[in-house]
């Protein structure tokens, strides 16, 4: 192939006044951006930089800065620099463009157009510092005909760590989140890559996934869990399967996934035993039978156009927990075109599904958990007020562990030890520190939520669930307000 005509995306700036040639950047960059010759000559390869900021953060003299490469194309509103660069990349390689994390584009974010209520005069607000405030919630089938018989999950905080498979993320991410979930009284999710033998003790605190590839799925895996989640789809890449390249299937990943090391791990697009809704009912029943009706069965779907009908079907198929993942949900790798163009915002999906299930009188048969781009406690509050029982977070948890959102997870060269299975990189995430940071984050969110609930005069999370009167829309059209089922500000 001829000379690559792509210029770098980022420029690494080194302040020579400050650089002390200590070599920390050289040793920390897995992309080999920084180089130190024996004669003390420092040089950088900008085209390898992914702007993960590892070098800049660790540089003891703050000598490094990374900026977008200043050389820009001639201004064009249609042929943006990104669209031109994408064509260069495909013309060079002939490949499907791959990217990591969730949809980064400028679609409307409905969380940012919702405002939360507070009490003034007519009912008192509550001071969460001194008065009781209940954040406990239960997930599962709460149909009054079957209450008490169906297995439930008890959450001390309406937040859980969403599915990220070992392989796409490092073992230390799993360790961090497993420890954090236990300490917080909530659950983490294994993702579709099985459970590493080191984490067997944390299985009972885990929601274990059964996905189309059936990696690491065996009777002990199902038994040693809090709940089983059938992964139909994920928000970052609805409708397609997954592909963990052999380079990431290390000896350890091989143990958990139960496939030979260094072989590709391909998840088919569908579960081949689910081609229709009654097949989903069949797999749910199969898993219930296999776990002797002791575990709640969750079904995770991506938020797509027909989500209300899908949700109704999933509930009627017997799912105890319905998980809806919006198009901002993260991923280790997704074809960029799919990540950026397929699916819908989870806020809309949630509002519509909750209403639909209530209209059909089946909302109590299932708990509704949403995920996909939840950034802070206000997003969580809004989701619960729109009708969610609980919220899954993953990207936010990874950011707490150090992720800098460079979106290059699929390379396996994560400098923060998160999206990698290389031992030398994996060790960069100390799970003792990681779990502490994850606990801190959720404890802080929990406190913020208690403050906001107190402000509304509510002291139990159940009273917020589906309480859309606690929300008002701002800057939304009448149709959007209608779809969200909330009033406009001032109404």
């Amino acid at each position: 192939m001829a000379h690559n005509i792509m210029m770098p995306a980022f420029k690494v700036q080194r302040d020579e006044e400050r650089c002390i040639r200590c070599g920390v950047c050289v040793r920390q960059c897995a992309n080999n951006v920084h180089n130190l010759d024996e004669d003390g000559w420092m040089w950088v390869q900008d085209d390898k930089c992914v702007a993960c900021h590892r070098c800049a953060v660790l540089c003891p003299t703050r000598a490094l800065n990374i900026i977008e490469y200043p050389l820009d194309f001639r201004g064009n509103q249609h042929w943006t620099p990104a669209s031109i660069r994408e064509i260069y990349a495909q013309a060079q390689s002939g490949g499907v463009l791959l990217s990591g994390m969730g949809n980064p584009r400028t679609y409307k974010n409905y969380f940012d157009h919702l405002l939360i209520n507070a009490s003034q005069v007519t009912n008192p607000s509550i001071d969460p510092l001194r008065e009781p405030m209940e954040m406990t919630t239960y997930l599962g089938n709460k149909n009054h005909h079957s209450c008490g018989e169906k297995p439930q999950l008890k959450l001390d905080i309406p937040l859980m760590f969403s599915a990220m498979s070992f392989g796409s993320v490092s073992i230390n991410v799993h360790k961090s989140l497993a420890v954090a979930a236990k300490s917080l009284g909530t659950f983490w999710n294994t993702g579709e890559g099985g459970l590493h033998p080191d984490l067997l003790d944390f299985g009972r605190g885990a929601i274990v996934q059964v996905a189309s590839g059936r990696f690491g799925v065996h009777p002990d895996y199902l038994d040693n869990s809090a709940a089983v989640e059938i992964k139909i789809g994920q928000g970052a890449k609805p409708g397609i399967g997954g592909h963990l390249p052999g380079e990431k299937v290390s000896q350890d990943v091989s143990l958990a996934r139960m496939i030979p090391a260094w072989s590709d791990a391909i998840s088919p697009a569908p579960h081949h035993d689910i081609y229709s809704i009654e097949d989903l009912a069949q797999l749910i029943e199969t898993l219930k039978v296999a776990t002797r009706f002791e575990k709640p069965i969750a079904v995770k779907v991506a938020a797509v156009h027909n989500i209300t009908a899908i949700a109704s079907g999933v509930v009627r198929a017997g799912a105890d927990i319905l998980v809806i993942d919006g198009f901002r949900g993260g991923t280790g790798a997704a074809p960029m075109r799919i990540r950026d163009n397929v699916g819908i915002p989870v806020e809309m999906a949630l509002a519509q599904v909750d209403s639909r299930l209530r209209d059909e009188g089946i909302r109590s048969q299932t708990s509704l958990v949403i995920s996909g781009g939840i950034r802070n406690s206000a997003d969580v509050m809004k989701a619960i007020a729109l009708g969610a029982d609980a919220v899954y977070i993953a990207t936010a948890a990874l950011i707490a562990l150090g992720c800098h959102m460079c979106q290059m997870c699929f390379t396996g060269l994560c400098n923060w030890g998160i999206a990698t299975t290389r031992p030398d990189l994996t060790k960069r995430l100390n799970p003792h520190l990681g779990s502490e940071r994850a606990i801190n984050l959720l404890a802080a969110w929990k406190h913020e939520m208690m403050e906001m609930m107190g402000g509304m005069g509510i002291n139990a999370i159940e009273s917020l669930r589906g309480n859309r009167l606690m929300l008002r829309g701002i800057g939304l059209s009448k149709e959007e307000l209608g779809l969200l089922g909330v009033k406009g500000v001032g109404e």
Partner: protein, 141 residues
């Protein structure tokens, strides 16, 4: 008290050495200043071996051979148990360098004295521990 390295999480980034050097000799942790103006001498060394990297640092032994062998009484133990060098007294005989079974005491040739970890006894938490980006160093009793 001593600093314990947790090999499992040591990245080998070398920041411990850098901050160690900067913390001493009046630089108060100013990395830039010591590297630009001074002569950075770190007290502990980052070791690299096949099985990984770790900070090799003084264990402040209860029966420290370096104290026993010091001909000028320059190596002392403070009330917290920290073994340190009194540079007023050190004459650079290097007995301690030879006596330490772990190589934790190094010659400081240009001053004709020795270097060893003093757990940053004048400034609080050892600088290596405070600046390890991955919690791989811990100060233990």
């Amino acid at each position: 008290m001593k600093v314990v390295a947790w090999t499992e999480y040591c990245l080998g980034c070398g920041l411990c050495e850098i901050y160690c050097a900067a913390q001493h000799d009046g630089y108060n942790g100013n990395v830039l200043k010591i590297f630009k103006k001074g002569r950075p001498m770190h007290r502990s060394r980052l070791l690299k071996a096949e099985q990984g990297t770790w900070l090799n640092t003084c264990m402040h032994c209860t029966h420290a051979p370096c104290i026993n062998g010091c001909i000028s009484g320059a190596i002392k133990r403070d009330p917290n148990g920290i073994v340190y060098v009194d540079y007023e007294r050190c004459v650079g005989c290097y007995s301690c360098v030879m006596l330490c079974p772990h190589g934790h005491v190094r010659p400081w040739s240009e001053r004709h004295q020795v270097l060893k970890c003093d757990l940053c006894r004048d400034t609080g938490l050892p600088s290596c521990v405070a600046n390890c980006p991955n919690g791989a160093l811990q100060l233990v009793d």
